[in-house]
């Protein structure tokens, strides 16, 4: 871990300004992913801006009937919130399927969205990795790719996004609110937050240097049956091989987002439209253009079968 300077600014604006003025600056919230990566010198900030005490830890009702979740709300608190449990069960379920009790106590809403891939080659600085070191190559393509992505990939990178929470947020049409160094704010639909790797897998989202996520907005409750089905090797404390987050209405319509198969939480409007026709039809749309490796081709079958189980549970 490289040495860095540290500050704990008193306001959101001060935080954004401090970050904008320095290329090597990064925000630190829960730290559960950033510090992990800093110890391995995958992240090498020269300055850390501690945003833990900016009052961004509240969950409030919005005038539109939704919820405004502060960026610093811890995963545990978000999952345990009465309103979330009642109206956005998918989000509670996804959060509780992730990490461990200890990590959820520290990990934050914004940090969870921005966590980086768990591709083992990204994590090993001796190995080529286009995401970590642009232009060095992708070791996973011909190497170990069982946990990695099958859709949305490129020749440069097949890393998968590890978040459970983001899958629920995607299915729930969340919107990310940010503030920039000049004080301006913007709202980014979650669908637009993460970028696909293309030729630049090191650029993972659309945020600018110094742009700070302040909240995530949930629209009014979607109703329906909300199911999060995480498929993994061990029963807990493991990343998803495939995760299905679905909201299914009594008439069979709904929406579905998939985790573990793409560089971002994966949702296709065309797949939503096929939900009433069953898992096979919806999965076909979700997996259109899939480019699996020999190692992870099983995910294609797994998505369909897991989705089928979810739809049958929703009917049940």
């Amino acid at each position: 871990m490289r040495a860095f300077s540290y500050e704990r600014p008193a306001s959101i604006e001060a935080a954004a300004q401090a970050a904008a003025g320095m290329d090597g600056a990064k925000f630190i919230a829960g730290g559960t992913n950033l510090l992990d990566l800093m110890k391995l010198e995958i992240e090498r900030p020269t300055h850390l801006i501690d945003v833990n005490r900016l009052g961004l830890d509240r969950i409030e009702a919005t005038p539109e009937g939704g919820l405004r979740i502060g960026a610093l709300v811890r995963n545990t608190d978000l999952a345990a919130d009465e309103r979330v449990r009642r109206d956005y069960a998918l989000l509670s379920r996804a959060l509780l399927a992730g990490a461990s009790g200890q990590l959820r106590n520290r990990a934050t809403t914004a940090g969870n969205l921005l966590q980086r891939t768990r591709c083992p080659y990204f994590y090993d600085t001796n190995q080529p990795c286009n995401k970590r070191l642009p232009g060095s190559g992708c070791s996973a393509l011909a190497g170990f790719s069982r946990p990695l992505a099958v859709v949305g990939v490129s020749d440069a990178c097949i890393a998968s996004h590890p978040s459970d929470m983001a899958v629920a947020m995607r299915a729930l049409d969340a919107v990310v609110e940010t503030v920039r160094a000049d004080g301006t704010t913007r709202s980014i639909p979650i669908a637009d937050l993460h970028r696909l790797p293309g030729d630049t897998p090191h650029i993972e989202h659309v945020l600018e240097q110094g742009e700070l996520i302040t909240a995530v907005i949930l629209p009014k409750p979607a109703g329906g049956k909300q199911i999060y089905r995480k498929v993994r090797d061990r029963a807990s404390y493991a990343f998803a091989l495939v995760a299905v987050g679905a909201v299914v209405q009594p008439d069979g319509t709904g929406r579905v987002a998939i985790g573990g198969i793409a560089p971002k939480p994966w949702r296709k409007e065309a797949a939503d439209a096929e939900l009433p026709n069953g898992a096979k039809a919806a999965a076909a749309k979700l997996l259109e253009g899939a480019r699996p490796t020999d190692d992870n081709a099983f995910k294609l079958t797994l998505v369909e079968r897991a989705l089928s189980a979810v739809l049958s549970e929703a009917r049940g």
Binding site: M1, P120, Y123, A142, G143, P147, R234, A235
Partner: protein, 732 residues
């Protein structure tokens, strides 16, 4: 004391303390953070420096040059010790891969430098600044690809009886299958760590070692110094499972860098570095052929195993149990060893039997099905009370049948569906599986020193280690039983090279052998007490309730030490009983699984192990050994695999997130039953081991349960959902 005739009645048979469910005497220390592990020794007057290791970025080749200029200039740096500067070092007797020194790279993450700084943070940061220029060489990393080049290992290892080929050919029912087991990692919770301090030529090392004397010897060899100058200590060890049997790089690096820095240095190997730097259980490819008559009697059994290792290494002895477990007149086992440039393959919990039983006990299940026999009955039909390769050589004691029958009864085996894939509960396909457990009983000499002091305290000193096995407690029980004192009066000091050399902890020999060594020392102390108290002979004396009794004569034990403390030291040595009699431990594992019909995720629902392993010295600690082994067996069955990058030559998933060992949610309540028995051939304790027996067969029981649940037979571990999903039933 030489143990070369079967034990007769002795004080251990009283069973007042030995065999009782006594809670660990080190429990209050371990549950309050007061048990001090290697990296934690702290003296307030010492300023420790911190060493951080640099590992090779390539798997095979040579270092052309190393540039340490930036690291040396980094804040806080005291010294940088490189493999280049140190030059070739002698290799310890027990190491295959060299730990440090010289320019040759034998495997990924081989230690090539250690950076010493004032703080851990400074050392870690500076370590990343060491630049290395390599000449990379092509290596062999793929066992399957290297299989045909594999050769008979040194010493051969082939065995047989009768005419296997003819017997197999003639058998009316045959099985011929290939099974594979992957590379696995010990993944103990305490990473390798050492603190080294020099005082002139004298070296003191606090480390995390299963075998104090092996480490001391090999550290002296590696450093080229006199063994007498080396003092090693490991009073508490945070798990080992075999990876702490042999000297590791942290001790070498700490010693070298402490000398360079001129002050004590602490070195811990970072977790992501462990799996490629140290040792692992090697992958195997196993071919098993079984022929049987329609009556279910095995007439031919053949087991071949292929594994790989670095040059100079050995094979994974996966055929070991097949020589002994089942009857059958025509037999054959063979091993082949390929040269692989992966990290060193070596012992991990039940080396040989653990992966061997993973394969054999699936094969037995398959064979039972071919014969239309219940797999419990098939095993019973083929029990043997003699070494099937040498029928004149009996087992010292063997109750595999008792384990199987007891287990079947307790587990409700009769509820198992005879047809595979027939039981469904909601979204779960449910099945039961059984496997035999088998592990040989090994014996090593073991010494101890006993002191009875004037306060009536008995102190046992031996370099034995407690790696979670319960050594502190069973040693205290042994001394208390032998000397007739309450266990509260026994102090146990372990893991220090100043103490008599013990068996150490490994191969499930530690419990039996180290307590037998304590027994021997206690016998000597009893003789000294008898003499002091003017009894004619120590042999018929009774030591009980802090008294010494013979007929009507009773003397307080304290009187023997009224003037001065008594000290006795002895060592148990084993004669030919392991040659004249086959000594093994036996068990049966029963497992019930649920397999998710949609996703193929397997979850364990119930587990039972029944063990027949001689005297159980402490049912609490023995049970813990077995449930722990069962848990590791579940990992081996369902998730554990070090994935080889066959191009770059390393284990890719080298941390605890990517190498998935079982967590709480994977493990249900576990039941363990010990059959009441003693084995007078094994030692005066009449005990054998259970710590490794507990893992042998577990994974196969899981595999067989998955088959029973799904009718899908997977012969390649781990049995992950991707190996099931294509054959699972259609779902709506």
């Amino acid at each position: 004391m030489r143990f070369d005739t079967p034990a007769t009645t002795n004080p251990i048979d009283q069973g007042k303390v030995v065999g009782k469910p006594i809670h660990r005497i080190d429990g209050p220390l371990k549950t309050t953070g007061k048990a001090v592990y290697a990296y934690e020794w702290h003296d307030r007057n010492t300023r420790y420096a911190y060493g951080y290791v640099v590992g090779s970025a390539i798997a095979k080749g040579r270092i052309r040059s190393m540039d340490t200029a930036a690291a040396k200039k980094a804040p806080g740096v005291i010294a940088v010790v490189t493999t280049e500067a140190v030059g070739e070092l002698k290799k310890g007797k027990y190491n295959t891969a060299k730990l440090f020194g010289g320019m040759e790279i034998q495997h990924y993450h081989q230690a090539i430098a250690v950076v010493v700084a004032e703080t851990f943070e400074e050392a870690r940061a500076a370590a990343a600044l060491v630049k290395v220029d390599y000449t990379e060489e092509k290596g062999a990393f793929d066992l399957a690809a290297a299989k045909d080049s594999a050769v008979e290992p040194e010493g051969g290892g082939a065995s047989g009886a009768g005419d296997f080929d003819a017997g197999f050919e003639a058998a009316p029912v045959k099985l011929d299958q290939i099974y594979t087991t992957p590379d696995q990692s010990h993944a103990m919770m305490e990473p390798h760590a050492s603190i080294a301090a020099w005082n002139g030529d004298d070296l003191t090392v606090w480390t995390s070692s299963q075998m104090i004397d092996w480490w001391r010897t090999d550290l002296a060899t590696t450093l080229g110094i006199d063994k007498e100058k080396v003092h090693t200590m490991s009073p508490f060890v945070g798990g080992g499972f075999g990876v702490k049997l042999f000297l590791r790089a942290d001790a070498v690096l700490a010693a070298l860098s402490a000398r360079e820095a001129g002050r004590p240095v602490k070195v811990a190997l970072p977790r992501p570095f462990l799996m490629n730097n140290t040792t692992h259980r090697p992958a195997t490819i196993q071919r098993i052929r079984i022929g049987a008559g329609r009556d279910g009697k095995i007439t031919a059994i053949g087991h071949e195993s292929w594994s790989g290792d670095l040059p100079g290494g050995g094979p994974e002895v996966a055929v070991q149990q097949t020589r002994l477990l089942y009857a059958g007149e025509n037999r054959m086992t063979a091993m082949r060893l390929a040269t692989l440039d992966l990290p060193e393959g070596n012992a991990m919990r039940a080396p040989g039997e653990a992966p061997g039983m993973m394969a054999l006990e699936i094969a037995i299940d398959e064979m039972a099905e071919k014969l239309g026999l219940d797999p419990v009955e098939f095993r019973i039909i083929n029990d043997t009370q003699v070494d099937p390769e040498n029928p004149e050589r009996p087992f010292s004691h063997r109750n595999l049948i008792g384990c199987l029958r007891t287990g079947a009864e307790r587990f409700g085996w009769r509820e198992r569906s005879k047809k595979a894939g027939a039981r469904r509960e909601g979204d779960w396909l449910v099945g039961m599986g059984v496997a035999a457990a088998f592990r040989n009983n090994l014996v090593l000499p073991s010494a101890a020193r006993i002191r009875l002091d004037r306060e009536g305290i008995v102190t046992v000193e031996t370099d034995m280690t407690d790696i979670g096995t319960g050594s502190y407690t069973i040693i205290a029980q042994t001394a208390a039983e032998m000397l007739g004192v309450p266990i509260e009066k026994v102090a146990v000091s372990l893991g220090d090279s100043r103490f008599p050399v013990s068996s150490g902890s490994g191969g499930q020999f530690g419990g039996n052998c180290s307590t037998a060594g304590v027994y021997a020392a206690c016998v000597k102390l009893r003789e000294a007490v008898a003499q002091k108290l003017s009894f004619n002979s120590a042999e018929d004396l009774i030591f009980a309730e802090s008294e010494v009794r013979s007929g009507d004569r009773r003397m307080p034990l304290a009187q023997a030490v009224a003037d001065e403390a008594l000290v006795a030291e002895d060592r148990i040595e084993f004669g030919d009983l392991t040659k004249t009699h086959q000594q093994s431990t036996f068990g049966a594992h029963f497992v019930e699984v649920g397999v998710d019909v949609a996703t193929g995720e397997t979850r364990i629902r119930r587990m039972l192990a029944v063990c027949a392993a001689g005297r159980i010295l402490n049912p609490i600690t023995a049970r813990s050994q077995v449930i722990g082994a069962m848990t590791m067996g579940v990992g081996g069955a369902l998730s554990e695999e070090l994935v080889v990058d066959k191009e770059r030559g390393f284990f890719v998933n080298h941390d605890l997130a990517a190498y998935e060992v079982p967590v709480h949610a994977d493990i249900p309540h576990q039941d363990v039953v010990f059959l009441d028995e003693t084995d007078p051939m094994s030692s005066p304790m009449k005990a054998k081991g259970v710590a490794e027996l507990g893992i042998c067969g577990v994974a196969a029981a899981v595999a067989n349960a998955i088959y029973n649940a799904t009718a899908i037979r997977v012969r390649n571990y781990p049995i992950t959902l991707d190996k099931l999903i294509k054959e699972l039933p259609e779902i709506s």
